[in-house]
């Protein structure tokens, strides 16, 4: 259970509290670091709420068309490579772990460990995008990319094209967010390298951590919705 009477202004450790009041990172319009951290966290979670709704539009389209065309969605989903999909999910969960450990390292002031874990997270992110690239290439080869060259062995090919439109829209948007995450992480790596973070102020690391975990959660939903449709028949 979270601390009973949570006071957003509470900062761990009395001495750290005193130091925090005059820490260079305290912005002039905030009273103390606790208020500044609470503001940053609320701001990030609000931004993540907008991202939930941004992807939500595509989830609404997916939900409708899966209800309308369950069989076609099954066939088209079976044409996706499930091993690559599940491996990719594990890779992304791994990158979430390394990101969480990076935030932990920042919170305890271990600069070198922070940089290692950030680099690991970026590596796993790149691996994910690599595997995604392989899948996309495979789709191009099989002419499963919506457009004039689309071809799909199945009863109603044009509805399969609808599935692949959703597939490329959702995974494309997710991959785009991954690229932004990698960019974000490069900035964090630079700042960590220049020693900008300390145990009392590492908000950018935590915020990019929240962003990265969110992108992982989107994939946690995309994987069953796109890859695991009617795998049994």
């Amino acid at each position: 259970m979270p601390d009973a009477a949570f006071d957003p202004r509470a900062v761990p450790g009395a001495d750290a509290h005193a130091a925090a009041l005059h820490s260079p990172a305290l912005k002039h319009h905030f009273d103390d670091l606790g208020q500044q951290k609470e503001a940053a966290t609320l701001g990030m979670w609000l931004f993540l709420a907008t991202e939930v709704l941004f992807f939500g539009g595509l989830f609404a389209a997916y939900l409708l068309y899966r209800v309308w065309y369950p069989d076609v969605f099954g066939e088209a989903s079976r044409s996706l490579d499930i091993t690559l999909g599940s491996v990719n999910t594990l890779v992304l969960i791994g990158s979430s772990l390394t990101m969480a450990l990076a935030v932990h390292a920042a919170a305890t002031g271990q600069r070198r460990t922070l940089m290692i874990f950030i680099a690991l997270t970026m590596l796993l992110g790149a691996v994910f995008l690599g595997i995604k690239g392989v899948e996309y290439y495979d789709k191009i080869v099989h002419h499963h990319v919506p457009g004039p060259s689309f071809h799909f062995e199945g009863p109603t090919p044009e509805r399969a094209q609808l599935f692949f439109s959703l597939y490329f829209a959702m995974t494309g948007l997710h991959a785009f967010h991954m690229v932004i995450g990698l960019g974000l992480m490069t900035v964090i790596l630079l700042m960590a390298w220049r020693g900008r973070f300390s145990a009392t102020w590492y908000t950018p690391v935590e915020m990019s951590g929240l962003y990265w975990h969110f992108v992982d959660i989107i994939w946690i939903f995309l994987f069953p919705l796109l890859y695991l449709v009617d795998r049994h028949s």
Binding site: Y69, P155, T156, E158, R159
Partner: protein, 350 residues
Amino acid sequence: MNWSLPLFPTGASTMAGKVDLLYFVLIAVSGLAVAVISLLIIAFGVRYRRRAPDQVGAPVIPSLALEIGWTAVPLVVGLVLFAWGANVYFAQARPPVETLDVYVVGKQWMWKFQHPGGQREINELHVPVGRAVRLTAASEDVIHSFFVPAFRVKADVIPGRYTTLWFNATKPGEYHLFCAEYCGTQHSGMIGKVVVMEPNAYQAWLGGGAAEGSMASQGQKIFQDLACHTCHLDSGQGRGPTLVGLYGSQVGLASGQVVTADDAYIRESVLSPAAKVVAGFQPVMPTFQGLVSEEQLLALIEYVKSLQAKPQGTPATQAPAGQQPAAATPAAPQPRAPGPAGRNPGGDRN
């Protein structure tokens, strides 16, 4: 400059009266509310205008009862109006059983009408007075909206599916037809006339009718041209199910689902045939997407409608789908063994 200043539209359909009544009640309720608010503002405004420069308003204790009152009253009035509106809307959405069917195709910037008797019209629709007319509408390109102000009727016409609307004209005359959903350059030119005629004048107009025969016969010609008859034999022995007596019946699908064979089902079966495969048949039918226009589709539907149980010699052997046990679909793709002798009594469609 046209100086005529009409303030209220003529009502020329059975629905017009109901909608107008609801409209007047809404005006009364809104007018009353605006009047009360304006009078209160003016009264308080004059009564409590500031007299001394440093005069301060007296503190007023807000009363909970008043607050709950003016929350509950609008809610109740609103729900009553909702229920009334929904009731009339239901009647607008459900055509009566006996209707004169006309087919409408909306196309960028014209309305094309097809009567079952074969008459074709553009931007003009002749209908008899006093009879319910049901329009089945399709669009060839973008969303249009069929709007006849005098009948208080409007329905969007959406590509990819059929929408229906109905009216029962009460006064002969010519009424505006507008396209109400923005559809491009000539959106304001996509207008026309609905001509409501006395029954005998309507029959005379029908008489002068189409040269190329009824819509059903046009459908039959298309049915032959596209070689549909090679698979869809009347006897049901071909690779495709028989279409005799199909329209309106319940059809058992290979997936075990049972659907009603309405306009949308026939349209979908022509454009994406493998979507709903009839039980006991293989998905071998090619798609006719792009090969058949909206008008031809409507003609085909009219033809299928005309194939009610024909009193021919050979009884229809296609077992009414409902009774055919779905489990008995033969695994082998060969057409079902013909067994006319008494396996199922022909002809008496339920």
